[in-house]
Amino acid sequence: MATQKIDGSLFEQMMRNGLGNIILNEKTVNDMNVFPVPDGDTGTNMRLTLAKGIQKAESTAVLSEYVTKLSNGMLLGARGNSGVILSQIFSGISHELEGLDEMSTSDFLRALVCGYKTAYAAVVNPVEGTVLTVAREGTEYVRDLFDPDTSFETILEYYLQGMKRSLKNTPKLLPVLMQAGVEDSGALGFIIIIEGMYKYLCGEVVNSNTRMESNEGSSVVDLDAFTSESSFEFGYCMEFLLRLMKVKTDVEGFDLVGFTDVLKTLGESVVCVQDGTVVKVHIHVFKPSDVINFAQKYGEFLTFKLENMCLQHNENISVSAKKKSHVDLAVVAVGNGYGMKNTLTGFDYVTYIDGGNTMNTSTEEFIEAVKEIDADRIVLMPNNKNIVKSALQAVKILNDNRVDVVETSDPVQCFYALSMDMPSDSIEDRISALKDSCKDVTPLRVFKAVRSCRIDDVDCKEGMYVCSVGSKLVSSDADFVSALKKGIKSIDGYEDKEMCFAFTGKNFNMQEQVERLFDEEFSDYDLQMIPGGQELVDLIVGIA
């Protein structure tokens, strides 16, 4: 079949197939993340970003309406560097398709061009060898071969060929990829999404049990938010895959509509999708046993998820401002772990967002946090370089000149800057001082490598301790303390520094050894270790 026109309905199905494809390959994309830290989240970020867009976009046959809402949803849900760039590509696509009920292949080519140009423009220092290059070179390849009579299937085939060829070349353009022996993960993620779209046109529907994946983030749930005295007002969110069983029902003649109608009497927000002999169900319910008993009349569960929505609700409102009263200057800070939360919320003008293990906060989460705050000025402190773009995107969308971003790439920078804050100064002086103070801190991390690689001229084997200073790996050692010592000594002028403070990870048990190291090697430093509770990194250190 040769598709010559695409309207909103068809585009939606293509996007859903693209989402399904990234979900299937999410781990592969995550694993290509360059650093040997188990926080590879490119695939997850792209999946979450796209899922948010699809969730927000209402089904319509009018292409421009669908793509606009898709793009806006992706902008809001953008997570991490890769998610933000993905949202910018679709923002450009949507801009070019404005006003069109359906698009031709010529329209699509123009949209692809606008897509990559918008993404390039959004990046302050565009780096070749990333998704930017791949999207551009893929588009250029299409343009070289383009013929107005060419079908969408062929256009996408060309696009994928051009991008895959470009992907192979990314290690030559980006030394860090060469050293790690991988191609760019963001580029791969984008190719996988487009591939899913292409597959749909070719009649290959990605397994729909993955197409309806929820777009929940990776944030940590506070179980203490629902106590033995709490009011159970929201019920459960239930999702499952049910395999229809011949011993229980007429599988060939299964009545999905009737099945769904019954579920609607048991709960709310019911969505049922059937793919062959598998039925995917999503429902909000107060008595899950009713649904379980009903479903088991037809088959057996393949997967099952049940969550107390009171916890989800409280998780969302933990983003809300601690104080509703007015403050001169408010700060929105991102962290991970109970220790970081306690430390950062120790400043009463800080609104805290739990970013999960990778502190990947979406643009929307920043926006929601800002909306809850009553302040003359509001500063966002992302605490992870991968979400600086999300924060900047939030500022752009909010279009509120009260809001600014202090581009902290690590929570130690944020904590130090807040500690040096002088509340008696003018607001603008305080913001200026926050920006200056965070530069005084050199962040270090010590963690266990989850795979062997060579990066930044540092060889590390799986299981060794690796130390990074900023975004650069500087040392590795089988011994934790040795890796830390080498890391500190790699800092220019470390002898003149005065303080070292560190958030200790959830399972950290080397406090005595670290204290001994400082007594012996860095006795001029004031050392302070704060229980951080973070999952992935043993020690997050600030040297100032």
């Binding site: 950062l344 009463d348 904590f415 807040l418 500690s419 008696s424 005084d440 005065e498 303080m499 004031d526």
Partner: protein, 309 residues
């Protein structure tokens, strides 16, 4: 007319015994309360060691409170010296922090009814702790130079707002909790290595005017601040005091002596009445300088310059 006079601060002057003896300074004892039980603050560490006091205070600050000498105690102290025909120069903690000044005034009225020729002159020091103690030391020096009670009273009244503080507190959350610091609410959660550098405002309240990271930066900022705010430093008797940071306070004293060669730098500790409100972790130097500005605006600007802001 009395020719000699007694220098009589309340018990918040925080002068160690050897200083009081050397400069012939008396004091009116007060009380502090722990879990509802009263203890005499006699400015010694005989009943409890300083280390134990501050350790216990750090653990349970809510159990502690202080009280100035009451009217009867002031009357008793005044009468003791008035009977001997001595004039009395009284110094109290800032009236913005305590009722001590008012109690002393009432006691004076009562004593003067009984002893019409009594000469009692009371100064609201607008200070606390060894800052007030330094006023007492300077009063003693003027007395030893032959100045009269009236002259010393006038000089102190005219210059009491010229006494500065340079040093820092290392336990700001404690101080913030106790409310004896301006702008306290934002100081929770501060890194312990960061030194909050303060000076005293016109009411005697410590105000943080800058922050330094680490001891090295802290000492440098403190000394630079003294250099820019002190007057006639070579002829000054200054005082360094601490709650429980002796090593760092002695280092501060040593650096002041090396850099400025003042006439003398005394060293004293902070006793329970002020310690309860200042908390552990305090070390500072008090000295005479230019008049303190309203809101410490000039002082903040000086500190900002020192810190490179």
């Amino acid at each position: 007319m009395a020719e000699r006079f007694v220098i009589l601060p309340d018990n918040t002057c925080d002068l160690d015994e050897f200083i009081r003896k050397e400069y012939d300074i008396e004091f009116v004892p007060g009380f502090y309360t722990v879990d509802g039980k009263d203890y005499l603050n006699d400015m010694t560490w005989n009943s409890i060691s300083r280390a134990d006091f501050y350790a216990a205070l750090r653990k349970h600050p809510e159990a502690y409170s202080s009280a100035p000498p009451n009217i009867a105690q002031y009357e008793e102290a005044f009468e003791k010296f008035v009977k001997k025909g001595l004039g009395v120069l009284v110094l109290t903690i800032s009236s913005k922090m305590s009722g001590s000044f008012d109690f002393a005034q009432t006691a004076k009225k009562n004593i003067c009814k009984k002893y019409p020729e009594a000469k009692i002159m009371i100064i609201d020091s607008r200070k606390f702790s060894a800052a007030m103690g330094l006023l007492c030391v300077h009063a003693s020096i003027m007395r030893s130079e032959g100045k009269s009670l009236e002259d010393v009273f006038k000089t102190l009244e005219d210059t009491k707002l010229c006494y500065h503080q340079s040093g820092w507190c290392e336990d700001l959350p404690f101080v913030a909790k106790m409310g004896r610091i301006n702008g306290a609410a934002a100081f929770f959660g501060t890194l312990i290595s960061i030194k909050a550098l303060g000076d005293i405002d016109v009411n005697g309240m410590t105000t943080v005017i800058g922050k330094a990271k680490g001891d090295k930066s802290g000492f440098k900022a403190a000394l630079d601040y003294i250099e820019k705010t002190a007057v006639d430093i070579k002829n000054q008797v200054m005082i360094v005091c601490t709650t429980d940071r002796d090593e760092k306070a002695l280092e501060l004293k040593r650096q002041i002596e090396d850099r400025f060669s003042p006439k003398r730098v005394l060293f004293t500790t902070v006793y329970p009445s002020c310690g309860i409100n200042m908390g552990p972790g305090m070390l500072t130097c008090y000295y005479k300088g230019a008049p303190i500005t309203e809101g410490l605006e000039k002082e903040k600007a000086i500190m900002n310059g020192i810190l490179g802001k």
